[in-house]
Subunit: 405 residues, 2 copies
DNA sequence: TAACTTTCTTTGGACAGTTGACAAAGTAAG
DNA sequence: CTTACTTTGTCAACTGTCCAAAGAAAGTTA
């Protein structure tokens, strides 16, 4: 059932300009002739569009390339330092803010422990402070900041999916994070769920570059996932898609905080794993662990209890992933969050469960891996959100500093 | 990560023409002035595009509408009989072929019991025969046939997802259904998985008209689902998305034919339900049931065993649907297949399980219902596939019979 | 009857990408 | 070195898009 939008000539220009710009950005260095071949546009049009980009400063000519039997091409390069973006991960108990260039390189970073859930005003102030410190510390032109991306530990709600969920974060009812920060910095502010920020980071800078459909599973206190479908974040009708943490693994399992029984989160959420390890440790008279990091570290030191707990978690996780594969058939699944640091200790039982439980074709074609982006992954994803929006056709005029219509 | 396509001026025209045509089609009757308001195009452009459509015969002026305080509008109507399409449901044990107009109205129908899985050549011949009979019987202009849609009981495979899966239908290896029928009828042929055809039918002609994200669950011998994401069928990376039948409901349940344990299909697939009813009936010395239809009929006659079996199936189905809602957060879920005829006997336990198990916001926002399209739903969906393609911007020139560029 | 509103068409123009000719700058071969 | 060829990139003329403005058509309202 088609439901498209009207197109005019400005839209054509925007679309083709975006196409060329993103091709240069992805390639890093490329000639006009190659752009002609890859875009299917005429040489004239490519030349004209490239001239616009050269004037904007996002693209430069870097010299002469290698001849392929005729006149050698003039190489064009994307200027990844032409603009910068800010990304913030608002966790339940911490804030991470990063300043990035257009290549996802971190130029500045601030970290702060902070109990965000119960303190909206304080959180907003803290975020503001962290961002101001980063900007002050970095030697960049403030007018070259494209915007602020915010990853939050809540599904998005509201008419435009740009509000925090008052169900998950009741104390934030009445606070509008986006509308508050926007005037303070005079920059566009984009909100996104943390797992969605994770999947964006993976598709832009991680292993997801070549996948149109992928999932990111964030293993933390809660267990959530971000889905990219046909190269776009998929939020579902109400903004809560990807709630893999509360899918049923076994219909009569333990009671979950959501009221259901046998949820994935009640098996592999951080509290469950920590409690399980400590139960054994108490019996053995050993010191308790306090975080997933402790468990992973101990497992790496061959602690048998921790290894066993991780192994079991992987088996349960594998069931949920098998369901995800059957339903969603993604090309790639990336595991993130603290537990992902366990690497193969986690991946091995996951693979085993998936092979056993998912439809063989979909399972054998899906790659499952742990994230390589480290602790800043979510903040990086938040910043990437800004880049994504800035380079959308409709926003390109603003980003490049072109005069309005 | 943007990955769009180059746009030229023909594409602009195609897009806007498609926009206007589909708006007229959906509205049934509408004035140029209303098209201007809804499309955001200029009055000039709308007039020009409407003239093209009038010439093509897909749209006619039907008279004068009601004035809203000024000159009364000239009403435009879509001509749903301008073209026709053929749709075929190839089931495991039967073939249904329909001839439809552009309103989804069935003009002709043929049904034939046929064991398709083991007999590719025979199936193709049978399909050919049924279609030829329908065409011969109907008083339509053969040159006004837009194409043939085929729904098959298999995920799609191959480079372009236009082949049957050799895993599910091994005896069809080496047969190319699409390439065989295309030259016979000299018409475009489109292949689709049966559950996907079901979800297309629901979005076009059923309760899904106003939903961008919806799921259709086909309850038959197997259990599969079709997903529409952002108004397009979603097939996943390998063409197997929507395999809800083999999601794990309970990690240590009965063995399924797929080798896994506790699959939804092993609880609510037709063989399981029939066996369960008959087990009770044998004890009671009653006659055995042979189909889901038998069970539903008995349940409607207040047979306690059949009611109990349906009730239990609904509870299991509800668990899978809760998982689907948590992951995909669709606005609508339609239950189809023979078992859907049980109506509220099935829906009540499904709703109960979903309320208990899915995240409350997503669950309360999702509508779950049974299909109203009847036994021809899948064949109708197959035919609709042709309409969908014919009205895509890129194919509009051909459909309207316009001269090439 | 005159003024107003709404619908639809006509006219002229701005601007998109394209085609084809051509300039620029190399390679390949005698 | 010279000539022929290839590849890269630009320029001018052109086709075809949508749009804004003006106006014609056909009603309502007072």
């Amino acid at each position: 059932m088609p439901r498209s939008q009207a197109t005019d000539l400005y839209a054509v220009r925007e679309n083709n300009l975006s196409l060329v710009l993103n091709m240069v950005r992805r390639a890093g260095a490329i000639s006009r002739a190659d752009l002609v071949r890859q875009t299917q546009l005429s040489a004239t049009t490519v030349s004209a569009l490239v001239n616009v980009l050269l004037e904007s400063g996002f693209v430069v000519e870097t010299g002469i390339g290698e001849s392929s039997g005729g006149r050698p091409p003039i190489m064009l390069a994307f200027v990844y330092e032409a603009r910068h973006v800010l990304g913030v991960e608002m966790g339940a108990t911490h804030l991470t803010a990063v300043l990035m260039d257009l290549h996802g390189q971190i130029i500045g970073r601030q970290y702060q422990q902070f109990a965000t859930l119960a303190n909206p005003t304080g959180s907003i102030n803290q975020i503001t402070q962290l961002l101001q410190m980063i900007i002050a510390a970095a030697a960049i032109n403030p007018s070259h900041l494209l915007g602020i991306g915010l990853a939050v530990p809540s599904p998005l709600d509201g008419e435009n999916l740009d509000q925090l969920s008052t169900v998950i974060m009741p104390q934030w009812a009445g606070y509008d994070l986006k509308a508050t920060l926007q005037p303070l910095f005079k920059l566009p502010v984009y909100l996104e769920n943390d797992a969605n920020a994770g999947v964006i980071a993976e598709q832009w800078w991680g292993r997801g570059r070549d996948y149109a459909n992928l999932a990111y599973i964030k293993l933390g206190t809660g267990v959530g996932s971000g889905l990219i479908v046909k190269n776009e974040v998929y939020r579902g009708d109400g903004g809560t898609a990807g709630e893999i943490g509360h899918t049923t693994i076994t219909s009569d399992g333990p009671l979950c905080r959501c009221g259901n029984r046998g949820c994935l989160e009640s098996f592999v959420g951080a509290p469950a794993l920590i409690a399980e390890v400590n139960q054994h440790r108490q019996i053995n008279g050993e010191a308790a662990v306090h975080s997933i990091n402790d468990i992973v570290a101990a497992a790496n030191q061959h602690d048998p209890i921790c290894r066993q707990v991780i192994d079991k978690a992987g088996a349960y996780l594998g069931i949920a992933i098998a369901n995800l594969i059957n339903l969603f058939n993604p090309g790639l699944i990336v595991l993130g969050g603290e537990l992902a640091a366990a690497g193969n200790l986690l991946l091995t039982p996951v693979h085993q469960a998936v092979t056993q439980r998912a439809m063989s074709k979909a399972a054998s074609e899906a790659t499952i891996t742990t994230s390589q982006l480290g602790a800043n992954a979510i903040a990086i994803g938040a910043g990437t959100l800004v880049i994504h929006h800035a380079f959308q056709p409709a926003n390109l005029g603003l980003t490049l500093g072109m005069k309005g219509r």
